[in-house]
Protein backbone atom coordinates (compact mmCIF):
# COMPACT_ATOMS: atom_id res chain seq x y z
CA UNK A 1 0.00 0.00 0.00
CA UNK A 2 2.99 2.22 -0.55
CA UNK A 3 1.18 4.29 -3.16
CA UNK A 4 -1.60 5.19 -0.72
CA UNK A 5 1.04 6.78 1.51
CA UNK A 6 2.23 9.10 -1.24
CA UNK A 7 1.26 12.75 -0.76
CA UNK A 8 0.07 13.11 -4.34
CA UNK A 9 -0.22 11.25 -7.62
CA UNK A 10 0.47 12.41 -11.15
CA UNK A 11 -2.53 14.39 -12.47
CA UNK A 12 -2.60 12.11 -15.52
CA UNK A 13 -2.89 9.01 -13.35
CA UNK A 14 -5.63 10.65 -11.28
CA UNK A 15 -7.53 11.85 -14.37
CA UNK A 16 -7.26 8.51 -16.17
CA UNK A 17 -8.42 6.69 -13.04
CA UNK A 18 -11.43 9.02 -12.81
CA UNK A 19 -12.21 8.19 -16.43
CA UNK A 20 -12.07 4.46 -15.66
CA UNK A 21 -14.20 5.00 -12.55
CA UNK A 22 -16.81 6.70 -14.73
CA UNK A 23 -17.01 3.58 -16.94
CA UNK A 24 -17.98 1.59 -13.86
CA UNK A 25 -20.53 4.09 -12.56
CA UNK A 26 -22.28 3.91 -15.95
CA UNK A 27 -21.91 0.16 -16.28
CA UNK A 28 -22.65 -1.06 -12.75
CA UNK A 29 -24.93 1.68 -11.46
CA UNK A 30 -26.39 3.39 -14.54
CA UNK A 31 -25.15 6.66 -13.02
CA UNK A 32 -22.59 9.29 -13.90
CA UNK A 33 -20.13 10.93 -11.50
CA UNK A 34 -21.93 13.89 -9.93
CA UNK A 35 -22.44 15.41 -6.52
CA UNK A 36 -24.48 18.57 -6.31
CA UNK A 37 -28.06 17.21 -6.26
CA UNK A 38 -27.26 15.64 -2.90
CA UNK A 39 -26.96 19.11 -1.35
CA UNK A 40 -30.44 20.00 -2.59
CA UNK A 41 -31.83 16.81 -1.04
CA UNK A 42 -29.95 17.34 2.23
CA UNK A 43 -31.04 20.98 2.37
CA UNK A 44 -34.65 19.87 1.92
CA UNK A 45 -34.24 17.22 4.63
CA UNK A 46 -32.93 19.80 7.09
CA UNK A 47 -35.81 22.12 6.21
CA UNK A 48 -38.28 19.26 6.64
CA UNK A 49 -36.85 18.65 10.11
CA UNK A 50 -37.54 22.30 10.97
CA UNK A 51 -40.84 22.92 9.19
CA UNK A 52 -42.40 19.50 8.77
CA UNK A 53 -43.52 17.54 5.73
CA UNK A 54 -45.05 20.58 3.94
CA UNK A 55 -41.54 21.01 2.53
CA UNK A 56 -42.04 17.88 0.40
CA UNK A 57 -44.83 19.71 -1.43
CA UNK A 58 -42.48 22.30 -2.90
CA UNK A 59 -42.30 21.90 -6.68
CA UNK A 60 -38.56 21.37 -6.61
CA UNK A 61 -38.69 18.57 -4.04
CA UNK A 62 -41.51 16.84 -5.90
CA UNK A 63 -39.07 16.71 -8.82
CA UNK A 64 -36.10 15.86 -6.57
CA UNK A 65 -37.51 13.68 -3.76
CA UNK A 66 -35.92 13.85 -0.31
CA UNK A 67 -34.37 10.40 -0.29
CA UNK A 68 -30.94 8.91 0.33
CA UNK A 69 -29.91 7.63 -3.10
CA UNK A 70 -26.78 6.40 -4.89
CA UNK A 71 -25.32 9.89 -5.21
CA UNK A 72 -26.00 10.69 -1.56
CA UNK A 73 -23.87 7.69 -0.57
CA UNK A 74 -21.29 8.69 -3.18
CA UNK A 75 -20.83 12.11 -1.54
CA UNK A 76 -20.46 10.49 1.91
CA UNK A 77 -17.89 8.19 0.31
CA UNK A 78 -15.88 11.18 -0.94
CA UNK A 79 -15.53 12.43 2.62
CA UNK A 80 -14.32 9.01 3.80
CA UNK A 81 -11.98 8.54 0.83
CA UNK A 82 -10.36 11.97 1.17
CA UNK A 83 -9.96 11.43 4.91
CA UNK A 84 -8.29 8.04 4.33
CA UNK A 85 -6.05 9.45 1.63
CA UNK A 86 -4.93 12.38 3.78
CA UNK A 87 -4.57 10.22 6.89
CA UNK A 88 -2.47 7.53 5.20
CA UNK A 89 -0.15 10.09 3.62
CA UNK A 90 0.23 12.04 6.84
CA UNK A 91 -1.24 15.18 5.27
CA UNK A 92 -4.26 15.48 7.54
CA UNK A 93 -4.24 18.89 9.17
CA UNK A 94 -6.79 21.34 10.48
CA UNK A 95 -6.76 24.57 8.56
CA UNK A 96 -9.24 27.43 8.29
CA UNK A 97 -7.31 29.83 6.08
CA UNK A 98 -5.60 28.38 2.96
CA UNK A 99 -2.02 29.49 2.21
CA UNK A 100 -2.73 31.49 -0.96
CA UNK A 101 -5.57 33.30 0.81
CA UNK A 102 -3.35 34.11 3.78
CA UNK A 103 -0.71 35.75 1.56
CA UNK A 104 -3.25 38.16 0.08
CA UNK A 105 -5.97 38.67 2.66
CA UNK A 106 -4.27 37.85 5.97
CA UNK A 107 -5.14 35.10 8.41
CA UNK A 108 -8.44 36.43 9.83
CA UNK A 109 -10.72 33.39 10.02
CA UNK A 110 -13.88 35.53 9.98
CA UNK A 111 -13.09 37.06 6.59
CA UNK A 112 -12.32 33.67 5.10
CA UNK A 113 -15.53 32.28 6.58
CA UNK A 114 -17.71 35.09 5.20
CA UNK A 115 -16.31 34.85 1.67
CA UNK A 116 -16.37 31.04 1.67
CA UNK A 117 -19.97 31.08 2.87
CA UNK A 118 -20.99 33.57 0.17
CA UNK A 119 -19.18 31.39 -2.37
CA UNK A 120 -21.00 28.33 -1.06
CA UNK A 121 -24.38 30.05 -1.42
CA UNK A 122 -23.56 31.07 -5.00
CA UNK A 123 -22.44 27.53 -5.74
CA UNK A 124 -25.55 26.00 -4.20
CA UNK A 125 -27.71 28.25 -6.38
CA UNK A 126 -25.54 27.93 -9.49
CA UNK A 127 -25.28 24.16 -9.46
CA UNK A 128 -29.06 23.78 -9.32
CA UNK A 129 -29.56 26.57 -11.86
CA UNK A 130 -27.23 24.88 -14.36
CA UNK A 131 -28.47 21.45 -13.21
CA UNK A 132 -24.98 20.13 -12.52
CA UNK A 133 -21.59 20.89 -11.03
CA UNK A 134 -17.93 20.38 -11.80
CA UNK A 135 -18.19 16.59 -11.69
CA UNK A 136 -21.64 16.30 -13.27
CA UNK A 137 -21.03 18.75 -16.11
CA UNK A 138 -17.28 19.28 -16.52
CA UNK A 139 -16.35 15.58 -16.33
CA UNK A 140 -19.41 13.37 -16.84
CA UNK A 141 -21.42 15.64 -19.11
CA UNK A 142 -18.45 16.75 -21.18
CA UNK A 143 -17.36 13.17 -21.88
CA UNK A 144 -20.90 12.34 -23.07
CA UNK A 145 -20.68 15.36 -25.40
CA UNK A 146 -23.76 16.85 -23.74
CA UNK A 147 -24.59 20.33 -25.05
CA UNK A 148 -25.80 21.55 -21.64
CA UNK A 149 -22.48 20.55 -20.08
CA UNK A 150 -20.26 22.20 -22.67
CA UNK A 151 -22.24 25.44 -22.35
CA UNK A 152 -22.08 25.28 -18.55
CA UNK A 153 -18.36 24.50 -18.51
CA UNK A 154 -17.41 27.37 -20.81
CA UNK A 155 -19.38 29.91 -18.77
CA UNK A 156 -18.34 28.42 -15.44
CA UNK A 157 -14.66 28.56 -16.29
CA UNK A 158 -14.85 32.07 -17.79
CA UNK A 159 -16.72 33.44 -14.80
CA UNK A 160 -14.37 31.68 -12.37
CA UNK A 161 -11.31 33.11 -14.10
CA UNK A 162 -12.72 36.66 -14.10
CA UNK A 163 -13.71 36.60 -10.43
CA UNK A 164 -10.37 35.04 -9.42
CA UNK A 165 -8.45 37.71 -11.37
CA UNK A 166 -10.49 40.45 -9.70
CA UNK A 167 -9.73 39.02 -6.27
CA UNK A 168 -5.99 38.50 -6.75
Amino acid sequence: MHWLQMQSWSPYVVGAAMGVLSWFTFLLSDKYLSCSTTYARLSGMVERRLRGSVVEQKAFYRKTPLIVDWQFMFVIGIFIGAFLSAFLSDSLHLEMVPELWRQHFGDTPVLRFLVAFAGGVLMGIGSRWADGCTSGHAISGALQLAISSWIAVVFLFASGVIVAQLMY
Binding site: I76, L143, L145, I162
Partner: protein, 185 residues
Protein backbone atom coordinates in the same frame (compact mmCIF):
# COMPACT_ATOMS: atom_id res chain seq x y z
CA UNK B 1 -27.46 -3.66 -19.66
CA UNK B 2 -27.15 -4.96 -16.13
CA UNK B 3 -30.75 -4.16 -15.26
CA UNK B 4 -31.08 -6.44 -12.27
CA UNK B 5 -27.98 -4.97 -10.66
CA UNK B 6 -29.20 -1.44 -11.39
CA UNK B 7 -32.50 -2.12 -9.63
CA UNK B 8 -30.98 -3.66 -6.52
CA UNK B 9 -31.41 -0.66 -4.24
CA UNK B 10 -29.29 -1.75 -1.29
CA UNK B 11 -26.44 -2.96 -3.42
CA UNK B 12 -26.54 0.32 -5.36
CA UNK B 13 -26.26 2.34 -2.14
CA UNK B 14 -23.20 0.27 -1.22
CA UNK B 15 -21.72 0.69 -4.69
CA UNK B 16 -22.31 4.44 -4.46
CA UNK B 17 -20.44 4.57 -1.17
CA UNK B 18 -17.53 2.48 -2.52
CA UNK B 19 -17.19 4.48 -5.70
CA UNK B 20 -17.38 7.66 -3.62
CA UNK B 21 -14.48 6.45 -1.46
CA UNK B 22 -12.42 5.81 -4.60
CA UNK B 23 -13.35 9.21 -6.02
CA UNK B 24 -12.47 10.87 -2.71
CA UNK B 25 -9.03 9.25 -2.71
CA UNK B 26 -8.47 10.41 -6.29
CA UNK B 27 -9.61 13.98 -5.53
CA UNK B 28 -7.29 14.19 -2.53
CA UNK B 29 -4.28 12.58 -4.23
CA UNK B 30 -4.81 14.81 -7.25
CA UNK B 31 -4.76 17.94 -5.08
CA UNK B 32 -8.27 18.99 -6.12
CA UNK B 33 -9.35 19.23 -2.49
CA UNK B 34 -6.90 22.11 -2.03
CA UNK B 35 -8.07 25.72 -2.34
CA UNK B 36 -4.62 26.75 -3.61
CA UNK B 37 -4.73 24.26 -6.50
CA UNK B 38 -8.21 25.31 -7.68
CA UNK B 39 -7.43 29.03 -7.42
CA UNK B 40 -4.04 28.37 -9.02
CA UNK B 41 -5.86 27.06 -12.07
CA UNK B 42 -8.26 30.02 -12.28
CA UNK B 43 -5.22 32.32 -12.06
CA UNK B 44 -3.34 30.19 -14.67
CA UNK B 45 -0.46 29.51 -12.28
CA UNK B 46 -1.09 25.80 -11.75
CA UNK B 47 -2.52 23.55 -14.47
CA UNK B 48 -3.34 20.52 -12.29
CA UNK B 49 -7.12 20.92 -12.60
CA UNK B 50 -7.10 21.08 -16.41
CA UNK B 51 -4.67 18.15 -16.66
CA UNK B 52 -6.89 15.95 -14.51
CA UNK B 53 -10.11 17.00 -16.22
CA UNK B 54 -8.84 16.50 -19.75
CA UNK B 55 -7.35 13.08 -19.00
CA UNK B 56 -10.58 12.06 -17.26
CA UNK B 57 -12.64 13.17 -20.26
CA UNK B 58 -10.35 11.41 -22.77
CA UNK B 59 -10.26 8.07 -20.93
CA UNK B 60 -13.90 8.33 -19.89
CA UNK B 61 -15.19 9.15 -23.38
CA UNK B 62 -13.32 6.28 -25.07
CA UNK B 63 -14.73 3.74 -22.62
CA UNK B 64 -18.26 5.11 -22.46
CA UNK B 65 -18.71 5.31 -26.23
CA UNK B 66 -17.19 1.83 -26.69
CA UNK B 67 -19.50 0.38 -24.03
CA UNK B 68 -22.38 2.20 -25.66
CA UNK B 69 -21.52 0.74 -29.08
CA UNK B 70 -21.96 -2.70 -27.52
CA UNK B 71 -25.21 -1.63 -25.85
CA UNK B 72 -23.92 -1.88 -22.28
CA UNK B 73 -24.55 1.69 -21.15
CA UNK B 74 -27.00 4.48 -21.93
CA UNK B 75 -25.99 8.13 -22.09
CA UNK B 76 -27.69 10.53 -19.69
CA UNK B 77 -27.17 14.06 -21.00
CA UNK B 78 -29.16 16.82 -19.36
CA UNK B 79 -31.35 19.21 -21.35
CA UNK B 80 -29.60 22.40 -22.44
CA UNK B 81 -30.81 25.99 -22.37
CA UNK B 82 -29.13 29.38 -22.36
CA UNK B 83 -31.16 30.55 -19.37
CA UNK B 84 -30.21 27.45 -17.37
CA UNK B 85 -26.81 26.15 -18.47
CA UNK B 86 -25.16 29.51 -19.28
CA UNK B 87 -26.49 31.68 -16.44
CA UNK B 88 -26.13 28.81 -13.97
CA UNK B 89 -22.55 28.32 -15.12
CA UNK B 90 -21.77 31.99 -14.50
CA UNK B 91 -23.20 31.90 -10.96
CA UNK B 92 -21.40 28.63 -10.25
CA UNK B 93 -18.08 29.98 -11.55
CA UNK B 94 -18.29 33.01 -9.26
CA UNK B 95 -18.94 30.62 -6.37
CA UNK B 96 -16.01 28.43 -7.36
CA UNK B 97 -13.59 31.36 -7.39
CA UNK B 98 -14.71 32.66 -3.98
CA UNK B 99 -15.10 29.32 -2.22
CA UNK B 100 -12.26 27.45 -3.94
CA UNK B 101 -14.03 24.09 -3.64
CA UNK B 102 -16.85 22.54 -5.66
CA UNK B 103 -19.76 20.47 -4.32
CA UNK B 104 -17.66 17.30 -4.75
CA UNK B 105 -14.36 18.54 -3.38
CA UNK B 106 -15.93 20.43 -0.47
CA UNK B 107 -16.68 17.14 1.33
CA UNK B 108 -13.21 15.87 0.35
CA UNK B 109 -11.63 19.02 1.78
CA UNK B 110 -13.63 18.50 4.98
CA UNK B 111 -12.18 14.98 5.16
CA UNK B 112 -8.62 16.28 5.02
CA UNK B 113 -9.24 18.90 7.72
CA UNK B 114 -9.95 22.14 5.84
CA UNK B 115 -12.71 23.56 7.95
CA UNK B 116 -13.34 26.62 5.80
CA UNK B 117 -14.87 23.94 3.55
CA UNK B 118 -17.16 22.82 6.36
CA UNK B 119 -18.14 26.09 8.01
CA UNK B 120 -18.35 28.20 4.86
CA UNK B 121 -18.61 25.85 1.93
CA UNK B 122 -20.79 23.01 3.13
CA UNK B 123 -23.35 25.13 4.96
CA UNK B 124 -23.25 27.79 2.26
CA UNK B 125 -24.09 25.26 -0.46
CA UNK B 126 -26.97 23.90 1.63
CA UNK B 127 -28.37 27.42 2.08
CA UNK B 128 -27.91 28.20 -1.63
CA UNK B 129 -29.59 24.97 -2.71
CA UNK B 130 -32.48 25.69 -0.34
CA UNK B 131 -32.88 29.22 -1.70
CA UNK B 132 -32.94 27.86 -5.23
CA UNK B 133 -35.58 25.26 -4.33
CA UNK B 134 -37.68 28.06 -2.84
CA UNK B 135 -37.47 30.22 -5.96
CA UNK B 136 -37.65 27.28 -8.38
CA UNK B 137 -41.27 27.73 -9.59
CA UNK B 138 -40.61 31.34 -10.59
CA UNK B 139 -37.20 30.64 -12.12
CA UNK B 140 -38.56 27.66 -14.04
CA UNK B 141 -41.31 29.79 -15.52
CA UNK B 142 -39.26 32.86 -16.41
CA UNK B 143 -35.57 32.00 -16.86
CA UNK B 144 -34.46 28.36 -16.80
CA UNK B 145 -36.13 27.39 -20.08
CA UNK B 146 -35.17 30.49 -22.07
CA UNK B 147 -33.16 29.60 -25.15
CA UNK B 148 -33.99 25.88 -24.95
CA UNK B 149 -31.93 23.70 -27.30
CA UNK B 150 -33.84 20.64 -28.49
CA UNK B 151 -30.85 18.39 -29.19
CA UNK B 152 -29.14 16.99 -26.09
CA UNK B 153 -25.73 15.98 -27.41
CA UNK B 154 -23.35 17.54 -29.93
CA UNK B 155 -23.47 14.55 -32.34
CA UNK B 156 -27.28 14.85 -32.29
CA UNK B 157 -27.12 18.61 -32.91
CA UNK B 158 -24.81 18.29 -35.90
CA UNK B 159 -26.26 15.02 -37.19
CA UNK B 160 -23.01 13.06 -37.12
CA UNK B 161 -21.97 9.78 -35.49
CA UNK B 162 -20.45 10.16 -31.99
CA UNK B 163 -17.05 8.83 -33.06
CA UNK B 164 -16.58 11.54 -35.69
CA UNK B 165 -16.60 13.97 -32.75
CA UNK B 166 -15.00 11.84 -30.03
CA UNK B 167 -11.82 11.11 -32.00
CA UNK B 168 -11.05 14.73 -33.00
CA UNK B 169 -11.95 15.86 -29.46
CA UNK B 170 -9.43 13.41 -28.01
CA UNK B 171 -6.78 14.61 -30.45
CA UNK B 172 -7.39 18.27 -29.59
CA UNK B 173 -7.35 17.55 -25.86
CA UNK B 174 -4.18 15.51 -26.22
CA UNK B 175 -2.57 18.38 -28.08
CA UNK B 176 -3.68 20.81 -25.37
CA UNK B 177 -2.11 18.60 -22.69
CA UNK B 178 1.11 18.48 -24.67
CA UNK B 179 1.12 22.30 -25.00
CA UNK B 180 0.45 22.72 -21.27
CA UNK B 181 3.25 20.31 -20.44
CA UNK B 182 5.56 22.15 -22.85
CA UNK B 183 4.73 25.76 -21.99
CA UNK B 184 2.33 25.91 -19.02
CA UNK B 185 4.45 24.23 -16.37
Amino acid sequence: MLDRLHQHRRLQLLLGLLMGVLFGILLQKGGLTHYDVVLGQLLFRDWTVVKIMLSAIIVGAIGIFLLRSFGHVRLQPKPASVGGSAIGGIIFGAGLATLGYCPGTVTGAMGQGSYDALTGGFFGILVGAGLFAHCYPWLDKHILNKGRIQAQTLPELWGVSPWTLVLPMILVMGLLLWLIERFGG
